[in-house]
Structures are given as C-alpha cells and as structure tokens.
Point group: D3
C-alpha cells in the first residue's frame, strides 16, 4: 500500500535534485550535447532495470528530468517499492533530447543509490519474514541524504529508527557512565523529555537490561548480544519494553537473531553499504 | 606525497558538513545529551579503524567536530590515503563532551563513506599494479558528494575522470547517432570546444575505433569490450590516443582488462557500490 | 539547572541572526552611524530589563553583536531562564561603536521576543505549580522561529510538544473520520510508526477517550473539555495514558484545568500571543 | 483601495513560506497523515475567523497551500485589510487532503500572526481617527519577518517607518553625543546622504527641537514627551518639519498624544506585542 | 575621511566573495597548484597598480585571501578612495602559497572592477569640481553587485542614488501617464509614502517641471535636457526642489551640464561601462 | 547556428535573476508603482537597441520578467548573437504593468551588460577574421557572472578559455619557479592530471617555449610577446602544440598579433572592460 511508504517533503526532493544537477552541470552545462545535438531535437527513452531488485526514488528521477525540461512526459511503469527483474521497464520518458541527456546521470544516480538500499533492505526483511522481528535502519546514512535513504528503507519493507539526534532519545554508554548508572540516566532523560519523545536505552548486559526495565525504559537496544543472550533478554523483558537487537547483523546472522524473539533488528549496512542497483536509460533521439 | 591528493575547496567541506549536521541535529539538537551530560563536561576520544582499509575524508571529520566546538583539539595520527589495520588510531580528539557527541555520527558517516571508496579503489589499483593501466572513477557518484568522492578515489590511488558534463567532452552513442557518424560528431565537438577542453569518444567496435582515431580523437573509451578485443584496440591505436576501458569491470576481471595494455580502466562501482569502512569513535567523558 | 534548557544547534542561531541582520542592514548598512560615528570609535553598553520577566535568547543577542564585531566583549550578568526585575542588567558589552549600533536592534528584537515567551510561559507554569500538570507549547509558533520559541518555552519552565509534523504522531479528527473511527486510526498509526515514534490521539468525548485507551494510545489530547469533564477523563484513564488538556486555556482558567489531574496542558498563546519583554541597550560612546 | 497596501516581492513570500514549511515538515513530513490518509484523498476546507479582527497575509496562506499542492483551488472570500467578525469565511480551499493537512498549520500561523498585527494596528488607527495623526510602526519587528509585518501594518491602516538602517537616517542620542550636538550631527548626516535619503532627528527636549529645526531637519522624532510638551513642540515647529511622537504609546494614551497635533505616532507594540488573531481551518475529507 | 565612504555589511562581502570563489574553484579547486606547489609552501606578494586610478574594494580582496588562508597576513599600504599611479603598492600579503594562488584572480577581479568604477567616477567628479553639482550613480549596475558598486562610486567621490525600487520613489513617465498627470501622480505617491521616503519626479519639459514644483515634489529629475534648458529649469525651481540632470551625460558634456546650476548629475556609465583598473599581484613563492 | 552557443544551466539563470531582483526590489518592492499603478493594469512593451551591437542574454531578460509575472508574453524578435542596429526591436512583451516595471531594470542590466561583452568580442573577432586566430576570453570576469559572461563571449563569436581553476591546468611562472623549471613543472602536472584534463604552459621566452614543447605541453600561452617573436614561436612550434598569445591585446594590436599565425588570442578586456550596450524598454500602460 502506497500510504505505508510515507512521503518526502517536496523541498527535500527539490533541494537534493538541484544540488545534484548543479554538481553535474557545473558552469557550462552539457557541452558535448550542446556541440552535437540540435537544440530542438526530441528523444524517447525508458529507464530499465539491469539487475533484480526493489525500486526506490522515482520522484527524484522525475524531478531531475522535469528540472531540465518542464514539459517532459514522464510515465511511471511501476511504483516505488516494486520488485523488478532484469529488463523491467521502470519509466517511459519523452522530451527534449538535450534535457534528457543532461538529467540522465543525476536521475540514474538517485535511482540506483536508493534502489540499492531498498533492495538490500528487502533481502534482510525477507530473511526474517518467518519471525516477528522488523528490520530498522540507523543514523549511519550517507551525509546529506538521510531522509531519502530512510524512505528507501521503507520501500524495502524496513522501518525507520529515529531521524536525528532530536526526535527521540537514545541513552548510550557515555550517558550512563556520566550519570553513574542506568537508573539515573533514565531519570534525567524522563525529566527533560516532553510527553511525545520516546526514550530508548542501550544496554550491553542482562544486568543493565534489568536495571533499564526497572527504570521504566520503553525501548531497549541490546548491543552486540549473541542470539542466546538475546533469547534470555526477551524472556527477562517479558513484553515490558520494545527490544531492539543491534551490532554484528549480517545477511547470514540476521535470521538467527530474529528467531530470538526481539521486536526490531537495526542495521547500518542497509544504508551505508548497499551496492547501487544497476539501472539504465535507453534512449533514441528522434530524427 | 600529499600534494598528489589535490585539495578540496573549503566551501565544499563546510557546505557538506553543515548540511549533514543540520539533518542530524534537526530542530532541537542532541536532546539525550542535553538531558544527561553537563554542559561543561569534557571528553577525550579517538577515532579508530575497526577493519583494514584506506582512510579518506579526515578534513570532513575534523570540520564536523570543529563546527560544534570551535576550540576542539583534533590531532591527526595519520593522513588521508593511509592504509590502516583494525585498531589503528586515526585521530585523537579532546573537547566539550556534548559537542563531540553531537558531531560523532556525522564525522564517522563522512569518514566511513569516503574511506570505503578509498579502500575499494585501492583494491582495484593494487590488482592492476603490474600493468600500465590506471584506475579511474566515473560520474556514477552519490548525489551531492561528487567532489568528495573523487577526492576519496585519489586517496585510494585512483585517477579522476571528468567532474561533470561541462569540463570535458565525452561523445557517446546518441551523439554519434544524431550526427550520422563518429567523424561528424568529432568535427562538431572540435568546432565547439575551446583549446583547453579534451574530447573523448566512446566506441563499441574496432571499426568505430579506427574512425575515431582518423577523426583525431585524443581519448577513446572502449565500451564493454572483452580483453582480447581490447588488446586488438591497443594494437590498432598504436599510441595515437589514450585508451580507456569501461564496462563489466570487477575485481575479478580488472587484471585481465589491464593486461590488454589500455591506459585507463574506469569503474562506477568504486564510487557507487563501495561498502563503508568500519570506524568507531571511542570516548571517555572526563569526570 | 542549565542542562534542563537543552541546546540550540549553532546553525539555527547563526542562520536566524544572519537573516535578521540582513533585513535590518539592507544594502547599505547603518548609514546614519556611517555618516556620524568615527569608524574606530568604541562604546560600552549594557542590556537591561525595563519590566519584570524571564530572560531567553542571550545566545542570539551575543551572536548578533559578534557578527558585527568579532572581537566584541560580551559578558553575561545572568543566564537564560533567569527572572529579572526592572533595571536588572542582563549583559555588559564593549566593542566597536558602529558595530554595536548596527546590531542593537536585532539583538533586542530576539531577546525581547523570546523573553516575552519565557515570561508568559512562566506565568502559566507558576499558576499550576500546586498541581502535577506541566505546561506545554504547541506548533502555533511564529513562522521561521519555532526552535527558538520552543527553547524560550523551556526557559519559562514549560515543556515542549512535538517540534513538527514528523517527530511524533497526533491523530486528529480528520484522521479519525477518514479511518472510520479511533480504533482503526490508531491501528494505522501503529503500523506505520517505528518504535521510537510516540502516538497521541485527540479526543472530543469520553467515549472516544475509552476507545483510544482500548486501542492502546499512549498519550491522549483532551480537546476543549471543561474541568469537570477533564476530571472524569483522568478517572477513566487511571494512568493508562498520558493526558493532555488543550483548548480554551487562559491564565484565568489554567489552574482549574490543572486541578483536574491531567498531566499536560498545552497552550498556543504562550508562543503566538506573548507580548515582547521590554529590554533596552544603554550605551555610551567613548570619546 | 488595494493599491494602497503595496506589494510583497514574490521572493519574500516564497522564502518565508519555504522556511516555515521546512521547520514544520522536518525530515519525514506529516507522518500521521501519511499513515492514515490515502495518498489520493481530497478535501474541502474553509479558513474562518474565530474572533473579530483585520485580515493580513492571505498571499502567504495561499503560497503555503500551493507549495504542497500546486493544483489546489484557493478562492479568496475577502481581501487583505478586510475587517472580519467571528465566523467570517476568509478563503475556500479544495485539493489533496494530505497536502492541505501538511500546509494547514503554516498557513494559519502566518495568517494569525499578521492578522494580529493588522488588528492591533487598526485599533490604534481608529483611536486617532479624529485627528491628523497617522500611526506608524518601527524596527521593533519579529526577526526575519520585517517586510511581512510592515505589510500587515499597512493592512491595519498604519504607515511604515523606515525598513532598516539603510533606507533613511535617524539621528539619535548617541549620534548627537558623539558629534557634540544636534547641529553638527545633522551636518554630517546631510553631507553623507544622497538626495533621496530622508533624515530624521530624535530629540528629548524642546531646546533640541529648536536646534534640529534650525539645522534643517525634515523630520523630528519627539521622544517620550507628554501630550502637553508635544503640543508645545507642534507650536514651535510651525510646520517646518514632520513631527513624530514616540515612546509610552498605548491604546489608552494614543488619542491624547494624537490630539497634540503631531503628524505621526510610532509604536513598537503593534508589531512586537500583537496577540495572534484566532483563525481556524475547517476541513472535511472527501469520502 | 574614511567615515564618508560608509560601510559594506559584512554579509554582503562574504556572500559576494564566496560566490566568486565557488565559481573559480569549481569542484576540484586549483588543480595546477595542487599538482605542483607543495601544500606547505609559503609566499609573499604585493598587489600593485599597473595604471593610474582610484582604489575601491580592498575589503573584498582581503576577504578572498582570508577565505582561503585564515591566517594570511594582509597589510594595506593605502585605503579605499586613494588615488594611485602605476607601480603603487596597494597591499602586502604573506601566507600559504596555494591559498594565495587560489584567491588571486578573485581578489583582483573584485579590486579591478570596483576600482574601475571609482576611477571613472572620480574623472566625472573632477570634471565638475568647479560647480556645485554632485555626480550620482543610478540603478544601472551589474546584476548582483549593486551595493558594492555603489560603494565604489562613493570611493570615487560620487553620491548614491536610491539603492533599489523600495527605498525612494521615482515617479516616471509611465506613472504620470497612468495617473493622468504629474499632480495626480505626486498626490498618489505622497498618500502612500511614509514620512521617511523621499519622492522624486522625472520631467521632460519645463511645463512638467512647474507642475511638479506646484505638486510639492522635493526632488526633480530633468530628463535629457540640454544645458540651456537645464539653466532655465534651475531658474524656475528657484531652490524649491533638488534638481538632478540625467541623460546624455558624458565626460565631454558633464561640465557644461554642471554649469547649469543643477544639484546632481546622474550617470549610468560610471557603473555599467567603467573599464576595469589594471592591477596585478606580484608573488614570490618562498623556497 | 544556435547550437554553437551552448547552453546555460537553468539554475544559473534562475539564481542570477533572483539575486538581481532581490537587490532591486529590496524589502518593499517597487513602491512607486504600488502607489500609482493599479494592481491589474496591463502594459505592452518592446526592448529595443539604442546603439549598434550584438545581443546576448535574452534568457535572463525573459527570466526576470517571468519571475514577476509568470503569465507574461515574451516574444523574441531575434536571438542571442544577432547583430543589431539602433532602433532594432529585440523582444516584445505584454503583461501586468507593475510586474514589467518591477523587472525592467534587472532585465536591461543583464541584457546591456552581456550584450556589451558580445559586442566588444565581435569587434575583436572581426578584426582577425582574415587569419586563423580565434579570440578567447580569460578568467578576468565580473565576480559572480563568469558563466554568463563566457556565454556572451560565445555570442560574440569568441571561444572560451577554462571556466575556473579546476577544469584545465595552466602552468604559470610561479609553478615553474617552484618546480625548478618547465620540464619538472609539466611532469608534475601530467602525473596529477587525469586523461581528460588539458595542460597549458605559460612561457615568456622562446627558450621556455622549446622546453615546454620538449616536455610535451599540448597548449602553450605566449605571454606578452611582440608579433615578431610570436611569429618565431609559431615557426618553432611547427604545429606540435596549440599556441595562444596573451598580454597587451587591444583592438589596435590584435590584427598584427593574429597575423603571426597563433591559434588563439586571449583578452581580459572583452569581459572586464566592455561598455554596456545601450538598450531600452519602451512601454505603454494600457488604459
């Protein structure tokens, strides 16, 4: 359901596309096409997948093309979050030839990068589909692209963790050390937080887990615990808090982690180490 | 030699860091630390490698920390382009505890992303070290980060291709089709280009190669040719043009491609599909 | 404790100050002072309260002065959240005379506006001090100044509600109407929200309250209910959810609302209708 | 007459609306509506006054809605500067439901803030309608919103003072002190000013007034003078300069001040301390 | 006296310098120097005049250098508005060699452009020094550089006209035609303008001049009138308004125009057609 | 052929136009027209040349008008690079009267400035039309307008030199001095440059020329050599490198320089010292 993907504020899309086009067009624009392609030549094109994957970022591809040719025809063949096989057509484009050539690389760079994230996320999500665990991203995102990458994670079936340092509290080792313990750290957090801010506590040991539960933590991040220990943690928590496993999560290990019964498994790799999905723009300039 | 890395204009660094900090700090900043860490607490920290790799992006990490604490002490233990083993200390930091916590993730996100590119580039470079071929990047970069990623490629021992559509000409299949042939396309390009713009022609066949050489192309991109065909191309060119192989380049295939005798091998994967290098910030808040 | 105020990201301060200085300096700067005050004249000044109130926004005043004279001496006599009486000195300033004159109005406009919010908030907070209720702000803030105004609310002893549409969910009448009821609306919200997003439901009636509680809402906004009805709501909830009263809150009515036993009372007036606190900058240009 | 209101440069409107939407939408946009409202749901809405007042800022409300739904129907029921009673419909809106919900708060925040200023200005203007005095605003405006607030003042029937430090000269106490007297200060001002810059002198005493008149000041600000003294000042000036009364102006005192015969009365309160006008957006999502 | 030059708001300088450096440094910075000059090489340099002229824009040159090397030593040998002969040293610079090379062209482009304007302005000013007429600039400035060019005009001894469409009124032919005559146009202007906005009326004929004077215009622009007609205009006005001659002003004609007795002569050429002053940066890189 | 002019990236046009309009409209917009011209008045206008010249910058003029009235009719009577005689109509405009008046000066400032550059360039180009030499611009451009001015040079029939420090290498005296000689400087440059970066070497003597040729320089800038020496240089080079003459180029000297046989002659004057072309906007407001 498309609603489940959420939305990207239009300014985010426009600002990201403008930044990307500016760095590609530079001061003189596409000089090769200016030299060779007539100003009024038109072209038809399709964006097609070269590898299997999950699509994310169509709005950015369209925005890049539209920025260069406001009258471009951009027809989606499928939507964000769609699975594709090699050869699948993603969108059909018709417009000014120079404009399409000028926007092509930016459109594909966005689409390839975000679809890569959606594709890898989907692999993790599929790997834990037999469990109750949800896959979540982290703040380990590419600088400047966080909101777009969080959207791509949703396209891959994943959930979003907090978007920044300001929209939820995550009490970590340094906070606990400074406070003198989990209990005091949670107390300080609760005193500061308004009633619409969630507090999560990161713990390394089962003792810390018990202390966090006693302090009333609503969500607990179990850091780098092996599956057995996670299973114990689930038993200890007994539903009193949402449990998130983190650390050492790979495609190989994620199923075992999920089978421990945790609610969420967070992975930095799905955003910071996803290879781009290979997509191409096949174009014919009209004679 | 550090000079060989070139420089990043300071505005690029500052703009990228500000954008990244803004997306992480949001409207309210690091609310967890505001609630728990005293405003004047100080901390010492080190940035350390968790995996082997090549470092790139130290100036961005430093800029992120300095943006939050203008008086932070940031001492480099090694420089960009350095190879590291797990545990290697990259930088030592001392400053305001809240500031370091607020900048930590942004600093690591830049450093992990760019070092990942340098690390993967270096693997390609090492794989062709016994040949004359140089590894080059492409325009398949992460939107908004092109100049930073091109710098990371240099840190990994790679060379930069053009930075955008405006600083060199690359005559591709659509340009050739519209012009009616390689010869005419090159003629148009030369008529437009000033004397400081290089022109490269992309060819698919050895016939096109010969036409491009005859037309006076100075650089020729050999698209998706197998090693044998590349070897023929090298023989045909006979030093009349710089030859660049592109397409289907992987860590497995790159040595064979290089052994064909081409001058450059360009790879999109080194920028768009490099996994982040795992680095951490180990911190102790001073009592 | 200063920590309780939280922090303003430095970019927020700088961007707000630059925008304000640009609109005051225009294209030619302070032409009166340029014509009359020697370029190297120096001045001493104090910022002083003219009316009783609570101070908020000192960092903005300092930033405005420092932007015009990087070497200005700006010494705080008291901190944000301090209560002041008429005549109280807030800060002492020494620096270039033209620079201080150029920054004066911007510094005072920030300080007067934000202190006005802190002062009015404090009056509401004091009025409910005998109860468990906390005063909270809303999204009814001055466009462009939300984070600064939320900070001023904290300086006045208030709590912050969500900062925007993206950091918490507030299920309102339209959402309920579209969903066909509170239960379905909450179900949809929970399905979308990650584990670090809090969900609040706005209800108009006690029936809706019961439905929201049954649906597992963690926070419930009781819209425009009179004190008696609020008291019933508190009894019904029995601690199962955080309760927030909103609507029709004035300095006259707030105590009675608080005595109902609700946890939070939110008021748009403390941000959108707070009169500025009267502060002045008394200056003597050195001969 | 609409012409009398002047115009707001379109960039001012767009920049203000974008800034406000960005701070409300944050990184993830309206997550509640994304979770609950179908992407293609449509809605009808009206903006209506809840209290009596004067409207200002309709262009900003429309721009906020249009920014989120370029195809929104936004039909004005009345124009800026209109007086409204509770229940009066200000505008009718029809468009995408999510877009309207996303823009609602920003549109109302602008409209409420600016209409509040227009409303309070109108009360001052009405209070002096039996005199020749005009009500004028000052530079005591909300940071970042000066031009918008000056427009709101015009909607309330007020006049604008200078827009910044650069578009007119106001010779104040510090300028006079540095110069050694009013005469020399005015001389310096005239020597610097081009022929399209007006010079006003602020005086505290009738002696200074006479000196300013003798020096050829075209406009004189009478600072904090009681009505009797203002009357003397009017007599002394005898029409040789425009006279502006300032300081201690309240709704209670303004009529007496105006009856002294001054030409202008300036008030900071009409911009910095006007309570927001209560307006609401009543919406029904189409089934 | 330096005060007479007025000041440039620091944001104007910084924004202009950043824009200029960004367009020169592009994405990769000064690649020639990066390849050849060691990163820590230092250099000494002087900026020297190659032709006679008047200097303007030193703050921009310094800002460009400091932007690339925050620790650069930049010592002024003379100030803005100074007359120079060929060979005159303007400033002495010492700092990082790469930084100086990277900033050199931007520094000189600002200095040459603005000094060219100051130089040409000074020639006009000198040509009318025997009269009471002052030379003024217009709004015919280089896009994006208006405030800087107005400053350069002051450095050349000229006066500034209005800075934009918003800081003074200039009633021109179209305004008069729409209004049905000068009298009505001036009446409308006065009704709208606050007391700190000056109104000037442009007239083509002596009849219009009389009508404008009767309507109470304070400043009158005499458009394209020959010296004889200007002399008549001066006689008719008899000091009742400031008179500005405009149109057809050249270095050859300006003295005759000035001798008519007008107060101001405005020229677009001093800003839009001033040749750059030739300045150079002579540098030696330290071994 | 229009293709030969290349294109301006749309962001460059929009950013330049917005910056220029903002500096002209300021905070209050066109107050004269707001006071006098009815809000819905319409007007017809033509842009016409007052002097002979070559047109450049029509896209900027149109963008300025369209920014103020999105529905303006703007019909080109001729294109960029067209030669015009006095009286020639360049474009016909029809739209909102206030909008046209508000955009007029900005449109003309762009058009006059860029057409001035095209016009002067064309004079140089015509002066060498009997030779093989091409006229090229330099980096001596007006800060902030480089790409626009380079476009204007192309409109005048000139060629572009590098656009910044980053898109080609120019090895100059300081680089040679630091390296210890031309040979080593070229070696360093080649080692750093990718295969799409051209390297030019600036030489002062024929000995240096020979050294540069031997080092494999592809382009050589002959600095300040008289025609005889240039002729010797051409003979020495014998086609082994592109030769560019620079320094002391005037309209009087350029033909003799060109007759030496060099390939390019570069001139800073065509961008930094071109007088504006006189164009006017003739308008009639519809009754």
């Amino acid at each position: 359901m498309s609603g489940a993907l959420g939305v990207l504020p239009p300014m985010l899309i426009e600002d990201a596309v403008d930044l990307a086009l500016k760095e590609d067009l530079g001061r003189a624009g596409d000089i090769t096409s200016a030299a060779i392609i007539p100003a009024d030549a038109r072209a038809d094109a399709v964006i097609a997948a070269r590898r299997p994957g999950v699509i994310a970022g169509l709005a950015l591809a369209e925005a890049a093309l539209r920025r260069m040719d406001a009258a471009v025809a951009f027809e989606l063949a499928l939507g964000d979050a769609s699975r594709v096989e090699p050869g699948a057509i993603v969108a059909r484009i018709s417009g000014n030839a120079r404009a399409i050539l000028a926007a092509e690389r930016v459109a594909l760079n966005f689409l390839g990068h975000l679809s890569g994230i959606a594709t890898l996320t989907r692999r993790y999500v599929d790997a834990v589909a037999h469990t109750r665990a949800r896959i979540a991203c982290t703040r380990k995102t590419t600088p400047g692209l966080r909101a777009l990458e969080k959207f791509a994670v949703r396209c891959g079936g994943g959930m979003n963790h907090r978007f920044g340092l300001d929209d939820a509290m995550l009490v970590k080792d340094n906070h606990i050390a400074v406070s003198g313990g989990v209990t005091e750290a949670v107390r300080r957090a609760k005193a500061f937080a308004g009633h619409l801010v969630r507090i999560e506590v990161e713990v390394d040991t089962l003792d810390q887990l018990e202390e966090a539960l006693a302090a009333g933590a609503e969500a607990i991040l179990l850091d780098n615990m092996p599956p057995d220990m996670l299973r114990q943690a689930v038993a200890i928590a007994g539903g009193r808090a949402v449990l998130e496993a983190s650390g050492g999560v790979t495609l190989d290990s994620v199923a075992a982690i999920a089978e421990s019964g945790v609610d969420f498994i967070s992975s930095g790799a799905i955003t910071h180490s996803a290879p781009a999905l290979d997509l191409g723009l096949d174009m014919s300039v009209c004679p």
